[in-house]
């Protein structure tokens, strides 16, 4: 079958129309629709993953809450060891009262300074260095007092101790303690 010139023109026109139809269909209809569906599917996957993770996360939190009960209680107890407020306001009177209770009078505690602690876990804590001066103590009483101090103040560590015989009162010794105390930053 031989096509006439007019028929060829019409055939070409039809082909152009078809190509245009395909272009419009894929560019303005099916393409955006598919894209929006893909985006929605990706969001669903993402949210679903987050939901699954969140269930795990919440179960983990509940489990950790149970497991960490002892640690939480202990942490609370350790925090409660130190009083509220500036350490310089409460530590010296506490030491004075403590040693007076141990039959050692005239105890004086002086603050030497404070430093940050190296471990990352203790970034919220400071190390306070104190000098505790006991001008009138006898060795036996001092030993018992230090034992009580070490047991009752878990965050306090005696780093240096100096005991000298008092020339004026031979029954007493002059004692100087350097102590470091961990106190939470507030």
């Amino acid at each position: 079958m031989k096509l006439t010139k007019d028929q060829l023109k019409k055939l070409g026109l039809s082909t152009v129309g078809f190509v245009f139809l395909l272009y419009v269909y894929f560019t303005f209809f099916l393409g955006p629709l598919n894209r929006s569906r893909d985006v929605a599917l990706a969001k669903i996957n993402d949210r679903q993953r987050k939901l699954d993770n969140s269930k795990e996360e919440m179960a983990k939190a509940a489990k950790l809450e149970q497991n960490a009960k002892a640690a939480t209680t202990r942490f609370g107890a350790l925090r409660a060891v130190n009083a509220e407020g500036a350490p310089i306001a409460w530590f010296p009177p506490r030491m004075k009262a403590f040693f007076a209770n141990e039959q050692i009078d005239k105890a004086v505690a002086r603050l030497e300074g404070n430093t940050a602690l190296k471990p990352e876990e203790l970034s919220g804590w400071l190390r306070y260095n104190w000098i505790i001066d006991l001008p009138q103590a006898d060795y036996g009483t001092l030993g018992r007092a230090i034992a009580d101090l070490e047991n009752s103040e878990p965050l306090l560590c005696v780093t240096r101790m100096s005991i000298h015989a008092s020339p004026d009162a031979p029954q007493f010794q002059h004692v100087e303690l350097a102590a470091a105390n961990l106190i939470e930053k507030k």
């Binding site: 629709l33 350790l78 240096r160």
Partner: protein, 220 residues
């Protein structure tokens, strides 16, 4: 044979030409394709709407759970921090050097004829060691021997609780002054003792059988 004449051949030809019009056929094909594509688009649109409604449901769920999850995550990190801090604090507490038992040991070692006049002790946290300097006056017929007895006793007693114990004389000198002990005048000597030790207890020796067994196993 009958003669067959087609008098309408021109009309028939025109009709055939109209039927074979490429534009008309093309239009029909276009309409057909368009219909198929519209149907396909509608199907896709329906699926997309369904997916979007699923997404909305999940979003609503997430909006409900999200604050709880955020709170749980915060609590987890807080608890982990508490656990770590408590562990570190416990390590610090357990790692302290306790002076009271040490003072008790020193008190038990000092005999009445070896009086202490000065005590200086320091804890070296980085080296994990303790250094103590004791000064005193020993009296007796042999005051140096009395001081040496004190040194030996300290070495023995401290060695039971601590490791790497060293007790050494920094100085030991005779004095001209005499001391009265039990009504008797005795010569005296001034001593300075340097004590160094690691507060950790000495490791217990492993049983001798264990290495032999291991050796046998490795031999076989």
């Amino acid at each position: 044979m009958a003669l067959h004449l087609n008098l309408l051949h021109e009309q028939i030809l025109e009709q055939r030409q109209r039927q074979r019009d490429p534009l008309k056929i093309g239009m029909l094909v276009l309409i057909g394709c368009g219909t198929v594509m519209f149907l396909y688009y509608s199907w896709n649109a329906y699926r997309t709407l369904e997916i979007k409604s699923r997404l909305n449901a999940i979003e609503r769920n997430w909006a409900k759970i999200d604050p709880k999850v955020t709170t749980a995550q915060k609590r987890v990190s807080e608890l982990q921090g508490i656990v770590k801090t408590t562990r570190t604090l416990d390590d610090y507490i357990d790692g302290r050097f306790f002076w009271a038992p040490f003072l008790q040991k020193v008190a038990r070692c000092v005999a009445p004829n070896a009086q202490l006049t000065s005590f200086e002790g320091s804890v070296f946290e980085e080296k994990k060691g303790v250094s103590v300097t004791l000064e005193g006056i020993a009296a007796g017929r042999e005051p140096r021997a009395a001081a040496e007895d004190l040194r030996q006793l300290l070495l023995e007693q401290l060695g039971q609780s601590y490791s790497e114990v060293k007790v050494e004389f920094k100085s030991l000198e005779d004095l001209d002054t005499m001391a009265t002990l039990g009504g008797t005048h005795m010569p005296t000597a001034r001593y300075t003792l340097a004590i160094n030790f690691n507060p950790a207890p000495a490791p217990k020796p492993t049983p001798a059988t264990t290495p032999t067994r291991q050796k046998k196993r490795s031999d076989t």
